[in-house]
Amino acid sequence: MNELFSQPSRILIISLMILGILALAFSGMFSTLSSVVNAPLISAQSWFSQQYQAARDFVTAPRDVTVLRQEISALEAENARLQAEIIDLQQQLIEFEILSALLEFARSHPEHQYLGASVIGRDPSPFLNYILINRGSDDGLRRGMPVVTHNGLAGRITQVTPSGARVQLITDPTTSINVKIQPTGAEAILSGSITGDISLQQIPQDAAINPGNLILTSGLGGNFPANIIIGQITSVRRQENALFQSASVQPVTDYENLDIVLVITNFNPIDTGPLIPTPENP
């Protein structure tokens, strides 16, 4: 073979053969052949590729889980922080609404001076309806000062310490307050009870009272300022042979859920004790 063709001739022949093969390939003459050859190659390559990806996932997956768990923890912490913030904002909104209502009440009764106080506790005895507030004699509070909410009368201060005070609610069973019934103007006495309900006693028999009538403080007795709303009559009890009528009252204030109250600081209660006749001073 070496003797038949010289070196340049061999190069020329091989080049022509390569060019011929390329020409046949470009012209599509090898497509059938290439598909036969490529199919098993691609299958084999796919299999190897899948095995490689599975092995890579096996090696890297635990690291991804750790990262994901860290991200979940961070998101949970963020979620908890946002939830706490929402609760805080809701609490602030409630306080804002109460304070707005209290401000509205103070504006509608400009004749009084007020001091706001938070309710910090209730009397441990279930027989007494008292609340404890976080203002005391250091803030200028004194025994007997009336306490109101944005809805109406709450009670009055019965005991004061430098930094706190005890308020007897009008629902306390030992309470009795002089009130008037609107629109008739009839006088009556409002009493608390052991169950926290309030009722009207000693309503004159000839007074025309009906459910829905408003109950206001009358100012008689000097313990409370006049014209502070207390509630509405819900039912009237009238007996022909009785001296007085009585009635049940729906208070305008929810005394079980008091949070913030206003103390009327410019009202001086009058002690009528010395004016009441006793066996010693008839």
């Binding site: 209730r122 009397d123 005895s125 279930p126 027989f127 052991i194 926290g196």
Partner: protein, 166 residues
């Protein structure tokens, strides 16, 4: 020592009583957390100075209450005395003794309170008082006895481990 440890416990109990427990009524009755704590403490066999807790706890609740000062102090001291007698006579069933003391204590304190309010001139419908205040309070107190007894028992064991029989 036990008194010093009791001081913060009793102060926290009094604060919990006025801020939380008193705002969670059943009908019109509320639990008396201090009563349950003091009686549970008095029933611990290794504790001999439980009267100090009764005195301090009573004074704290009297300070917060609108009832005349001394109502709770005297009641708790009396219950402490009853607990000591029971503890010395009955050697087992401390938890049952606690239930009994919770029952007696509730009736004693609430009966005492009713008498004082009646003496102050306020009319109380006794049937309503029983149904709306005393019985619900009693139920709440009895419910509190089990967890409080376990808790106080643990505290007492930490402070003064009871003697082990060999």
């Amino acid at each position: 020592m036990t008194f010093l440890i009791g001081l913060p416990i009793l102060i926290i109990t009094a604060i919990l009583q006025t801020t939380v427990i008193s705002r969670m009524p059943l009908l019109n009755g509320t639990a008396d957390l201090m009563l349950i704590v003091i009686t549970a403490w008095a029933l611990q066999r290794q504790i001999s100075t439980s009267w100090q807790w009764a005195l301090l706890g009573g004074m704290l609740i009297d300070y917060y209450s609108g009832l005349p000062f001394g109502v709770y102090t005297l009641s708790y001291l009396a219950l402490n005395g009853a607990a000591v007698i029971l503890k010395n006579r009955v050697w087992q069933f401390s938890y049952l003794m606690h239930l009994l003391l919770a029952l007696l204590g509730t009736l004693l304190i609430q009966g005492f309170s009713v008498i004082i309010i009646l003496l102050q001139g306020t009319a109380l419908p006794l049937g309503t008082v029983l149904q709306q205040v005393i019985l619900p309070s009693l139920i709440l107190n009895l419910l509190l006895t089990f967890p409080i007894y376990l808790l106080i028992n643990d505290v007492a064991e930490q402070i003064k481990p009871s003697a082990v029989k060999l």
